[in-house]
Point group: D2
Chain length 373, copies 4
């Protein structure tokens, strides 16, 4: 079986999630390629070595440039801070590597375009880590829509709300700095719900956005008595028009008290509706307009082996899938994509399209008018 040699850059929150998925994927799925956890890069050689050991990687380096140029790497997996995505990806592409990048693809449309074009010209494959759409439950939502079970989609409401910055005493970190994060909640969170909207309904054509920095200053992490400015938005909302004609609204917040994993959607069709919240990631609510009078209602479907990809994890319905399982599906797509030339999506072109939507929302919020994506 063809080997796929992976080079992982970055082992924080999301890098660790990737590592768990690499470990799990070959047992869960009958992959078309063999995963080789070849090399891992971190900010210094000691940390890199320690993490390589913990995550089962063969080699390690304190310099990501060694990794992207290593001849024994097939795909570069970028879990480094967002502001480094562009530089690393371009270097990897320059060395002919396939690139698997965490979201957001880049801090600006200009950067995302440069990356997408570079990949296209080099003919390398790309994948962006929009893991929530890999959840069997959201795949089921797409299947229901694609089969026309709820008719034509006329409305989409989606959120990605969390509360990790709800406490005003939480010091300013990279999330709040323009140079390191670009947009705030839009870039960090709404990227997921925009991708989900694309996945479920299709491209967004026009937006009217609004955004707000609620907590304008936060303690300096180095010197907590000193307050430093928050440089991007805590919350944002936008009206949407989809290419296929539907109306929509998306909202995002990083200060939404109580929302821990508040990616949600409510999709209305001409013959039914779907409701979903990521906090109950194994449940999809389905309403069918044409059911008998007096027996209509939202039905809670527990994801099970009759639904896409679930059976690989468990053959019984309702037994539950977890956060890391989504990433495992994504890794399956990565490995099969590279080993067997299967389609990989969301690719850089989709990452770029998401960035365009986010940037249009931000621009619209400043100009106070609708903007075409």
């Amino acid at each position: 079986m063809k080997k796929v040699k992976v080079g992982l850059i970055g082992t924080g929150y999301i890098g660790r999630c990737h590592a768990i998925a690499y470990a799990q994927a070959p047992t869960v799925f009958d992959l078309k390629g063999e995963i080789v956890r070849e090399m891992l890069a971190e900010v210094n050689p000691e940390l890199a070595a320690r993490q390589a050991n913990a995550f089962g990687f063969r080699r390690s380096t304190g310099n990501w440039r060694d990794l992207v140029s290593d001849p024994d790497i097939d795909v570069v997996d970028i879990c480094a801070p967002n502001f480094l995505h562009k530089e690393i990806a371009l270097e990897a592409i320059r060395h002919g590597k396939h690139v698997y990048s965490e979201k957001p693809l880049a801090l600006s449309v200009a950067d995302a375009e440069e990356m997408t074009h570079a990949a296209q010209e080099a003919g390398v494959k790309t994948l962006v880590g929009f893991n929530y759409m890999k959840n069997p439950t959201s795949q089921l939502a797409r299947e229901i829509i694609a089969r026309g079970e709820i008719g034509d989609i006329v409305h989409f409401y989606g959120t990605h709300n969390e509360d990790y910055l709800a406490n005003p005493q939480t010091p300013r970190d990279w999330h709040c700095q323009h140079a390191l994060a670009g947009l705030g909640a839009l870039g960090d969170l709404a990227a997921h719900i925009v991708n989900m909207a694309h996945f479920l309904v299709g491209d967004i054509e026009e937006v009217s956005g609004d955004m707000m920095t609620v907590i304008k200053q936060r303690p300096d992490p180095e010197e907590p008595a000193r307050l430093v400015p928050v440089e991007n938005e805590d919350q944002a909302s936008a009206l949407l028009r989809f290419k296929q004609g539907a109306q929509g609204v998306i909202e995002t917040s990083r200060i939404a008290c109580g929302r821990k994993m508040g990616l949600t959607y409510v999709i209305t069709g001409t013959r039914g509706a779907l409701r979903y919240t990521q906090e109950r990631m194994a449940e999809l609510e389905l309403y069918l307009h044409d059911e008998p009078t007096g027996r209509q209602g939202f039905k809670t479907i527990l994801t099970g082996p009759a639904h896409p990809d679930y059976a690989a994890f468990c053959v019984s319905a309702g037994h539950g899938i977890g956060f890391n399982d989504q990433k495992t599906v994504e890794i399956r797509d990565l490995i099969n994509g590279i080993a067997a030339n299967d389609r990989m999506w969301p690719d850089f072109a989709e990452g770029l399209q998401v960035t365009r939507v986010l940037e249009a929302i931000a621009a619209s919020a400043v100009e106070r008018r609708w903007i075409k994506v």
Copy 2:
């Protein structure tokens, strides 16, 4: 005890609801005035007589003008079709009657202004039937906000979605005709959620709206084979800015498959959040940010005797309140307002303010830019 002589005009869906509330209110509440169900008006004398008998009214008439000019009427209760609200209210005011009107107050801001000014000049009391805010559960939400339990409000998301026109084969009725209904879902449904936003968060200052007529033609009720145009919007959404600084979004639809009583809100404060859906009208979900680590979560409060007005219906918590009970609270406010000069709210001025917001949303949707209310 002071008698309050009521004249009811219109006995359809909502008129019947008023009748039930008049019957129930004196037993439920210790009112400050005695309700006299004095006279009822319908479109012809026969129907009027029959309904007066069914609803316990002493006299009846086939001509509402007789009622509003009758010397033995203290308050005119307008449950007539929306397009008649203005004419009836102005006549009633001219005869010095207090006026209790169903929502929407009027079909346009101009009309609502005329009615509000007339009432103010005549010194009569007014009340508009925004019954959902009378629900003890939403009163509790207001109490929690007013006491600062969830901090400063930074975001409001509200909907009033139903599906009574989801079926494209449903013939066009008055809801879909501009001359009879004015706005579509905005006027019929969103009026409630705008009033609720005012009640819970305060005035709305600026809006960016969007609206859509999804089902553009419907069967002519007289001649079902013929299709006639739908003249107003099936669904609408708007970004909001509140005077006190919060962001918001409201949405409305009359074709939202599966939403039977989809008045909902999610209110985010700096220290907590509230969630509510009218379909579970005896439950309020409360999240408090400052609860101990590992013990935080949305708490489902079952409305009970510790909350406003509930104890009048039942002394045990969680036993449930119904749709008509809200109207009974409203009737309590009406009778006490007139008999004892208690404050009556939402009055015509609030009805006007709601109309301004709705009209601004509709105008914004046409002009594709933010509009000040």
Copy 3:
């Protein structure tokens, strides 16, 4: 129209609920008889007069014997304390009155038998206030079962749990005294769930019960420093066998922290299942085994005009029904039963059957073996 002259005895918690229902019923329903709120009895003439005024009754008395013997009374409505049910009912029957008694019918099977036989011999009509089964939602459950939509019933799980005595500092009141209440949670609460089991599944044939007095002493209400014994059970459970063959379990508690209106049931059939909780009294969950693979799930049906009796309250689905509305349906049955000789159920015979089940559970708990009802 035939008048039905009502004499109400007792105006506490449940008497007040009856009064609200009498006021509301003629407007809600097109009754077959005219309700006359004729006379009200309380423990003294002053309270009786005050309550008669508040509840709209024409006459009042401080002695219930005057009421049951009054020639102008058609039906005696017993909302007096439980230990008085028997004496009042027998007196009323002796005077040829129809009798409408709150539950529990009596404190013992012997008493309930005496009452039932007396009524049968006198040929008067009887009704017992098991109001929860009047809820349109539970009527829908019965309809679904009766139509075979979930196949043959093989299992019933039901509870009636509340927490009104969860606090050990709550003084001992009549609920805890054998002479005044008979059984504890079984008599006060489980009576409802046993009646519901009868209504939905049929007669219970055999039981194995267990019960426990958790808080063995409580403060004397007169002298709180002194502790007095609790004389009946705080919680009880029983295995059941139904006549039609199904297995079952019922549970009850008055110290079930957090359960405010914890009447619930889960009914399993060979082709589906139903779930219900009274705290969400306008929702029924329905699972149908034969739905398409991958689209199965519990569906939340919002009670609406397609379901029994709901339309009388509101013509739109999902708008909600309240606790008092159930009693209004019961009053409809009472008035129509007397005025038009319609069937009245649950009658004394059913009240007796419920008492037999409860007493069998209590006896079984003592004898530690199964007992036939």
Copy 4:
């Protein structure tokens, strides 16, 4: 680091789940020993080889006796059919291996006793695969109870209901045969809820049980036109008394339409309550009696890094844990138990105690009286 060499016997449903957990565990947890996937046994050498390859095991065999006697195996992991547990475990113990067995430990108390004593005499460590209690959410329930947050436990209601045999056309398989499965739903499902009751409340002292074979015959899998008898119970219920004094009820069914993973519990204490359902395995509902009046309610806690073991999977709350993650926690306990002599629980002694409770329920159902465990 000490190596722990694992021999896995059986690669069906649950064996596959173990394999996923072995793959995932070293990345998720900082283990005290190194997992070596040494050898795998299946019913023939070809299947064994194929599965060894799929699951990452070094060697394979078509004969489990080779595995249990292999000098390079530290722990024997038994995922073979239930009726083989005893024989394999005794052989493994005879060779001085630690034993990790799936539940149920054995088909009878006699067998479980023999196995437990053999392990104790040999001084080997044992673990039984009651994975649901490893879920961080149920660990949180235990923590809340242990800290006295809900007071003294007075009542436990637990179920393990599924519907895998709800369809009467499903052919009879090993689950329905006494010689292969022992008890029916009790052994296959209730074992979990009995273990959970032990984990959360403590030992069960006395039971009154009932059981029923609802579908008495099923198609012969070899010859579907022929019906063969079902030899054990489809559903069962039992009243319980716990050693610490609480009352309880457990129920189980394999024909409970709609329940896909219906392990649930409701635990009532003197100062609060907990509610849980495995179908929402990342949520625990907590009610605290002493919260302020009017602000009481069941709070939905989303499992997160503040709770036991969750942080190893994800550092953000509410992101979700899956079925296989529970097994990964169990594997962590296995490896640390063997490598560092950490406590391993539930061990064979607990497996025996569960079997005693199940057998007492079955005996009680036959004898129709309470039985001491």
